[in-house]
Amino acid sequence: MIDILRSEWTKLRSVRSTVWTLAATAVMMIGFGALLSAAVKNTADGPVELANALMASLSGAMFASLSIAALGVLVISGEYRTGGIRTSFMAVPRRLHLLAGKAVVFTVTSLVVCTLAAAGALAAGLAITQPAGLTPGEVVRSAVGAGLYLTACGLFGLALGTLVRHTPGALVAAIALIMVLPALVRQLPGQWGRTVAEHFTTNAGQLVMAGGGGGSSLSPWAGFGVYLAWIAVTAVAAGVLMRRRDA
């Protein structure tokens, strides 16, 4: 397995799309965070509330989640597009090992970059808003939460890319499931609709960033668990098909 991890790391670091999507993720996190923090500060009468300040700092996650998901998609769809997947399968005929290797390397890389980007966004945003009652624990928790959430979005992209096998289709699926549908299901009527909306992909997943509140019945970690379950189901379906399909 260590051989596969080394190989996948070489693949990940040696293409430009990795650098671009990771840079885009960091820029959006820090840029939007600073921008929205400035807006919040300017419109606030007195001191900014801590929860609002944290939320403003991490507001870039909405778009950053898409760029990191795009990287997740490309990690596998890039191989299908070029036909390089055959070379990969020839080298590692146990296809699930290959997929696991990609997932591990992606997860580690994304966790590091996204957590640092979130920390940068928090540093910039909180420096602007200067909220009252700031504790280091709260900041660290938010940064780690954002890193986890964004990485989960990337893994969602990886699973969808494996399932769909071509870049545009997988990107559309990722945007729909991460951004569009979560907003739409919030319009469902009644208690039943509310429950569905709360458990729908990123509606549940992003609770891990917000640190409670927000009016959801799910706790941050329960919400993140629900999101991981969505990803796991997609990944299992993708893995089963990857094993069975001709390359």
């Binding site: 036909g83 069975r244 001709d246």
Partner: protein, 296 residues
Amino acid sequence: MTAIRATNLSKRYGPTVAVAELSFDVEPGRVTGFLGPNGAGKSTTMRMILGLDRPSGGAVLVDGRPYHELRHPLRKVGALLDAKAVHGGRSARDHLLAIAQSNGLPASRVEQVLETVGLREVARRRVGGFSLGMAQRLGIAAALLGDPEILLFDEPVNGLDPDGILWIRTLMRELAAEGRAVFVSSHLMSEMAQTADHLIVIGKGRLIADTGVDEFIARSSQGYVRVRSPRLAEVADLIGTGERHPDHLRVTAMSTLEIGTLTARAGIPLEELTHVRPSLEAAYMELTKDSLEYTS
């Protein structure tokens, strides 16, 4: 040990039969040509050997085992399927390094194979900008990484210039001379005539011939002796066999020596006495004419 053994190997795509009950062996120490018209099922067979496509029936073993059971497959089998199937954004060196690492091969092997195929100067360039010839060399470098005993090449000379063709031909001969099994597909008989020791010919997914190159020619349509002479009628009477044509005589029952001896004894001058061998190309066309997927 037999390098590759296919037993009743079959592949269907819905109602279409791509490969039907194909059985053959590929032996080490020689170049085995895998020959058939376009669409005969060569690439499908190669993908099944490499565990990329799942057979609908039968089995194919590499060194006695299914491909996916090989622990470090690239140390056993090297293959070039589609030279352009690489991520264009990666450098040649990184492309090979990722492949080497996946099979626990040292980075020094990358430098060695880059040297072997003559790509060391361009190792840092992105492979998207490579010409087909360079991409082909890169694909061969990848196949050689694990120093494998078994090599598969799918239509390796397609689209190459004469230099590249000669290089690949020589390389395949050398690899076989080192005791490796070389299995190379082509739809061009003339190409195989130059490289292969043994032929496996398929058409419409079925085995047509599994034979040495020489037997392949011998087995197919007979050669004949063409005789031309200003006194052709006398020659015909003298040897008492052959098919009369306006300007020559076509003889299948006698050799050039026999005819020459008879006419010399009778003092009849000859303009031409030639043994016309059937070309490998002609033999191939004759064998596969019933199995062409697309006839023009």
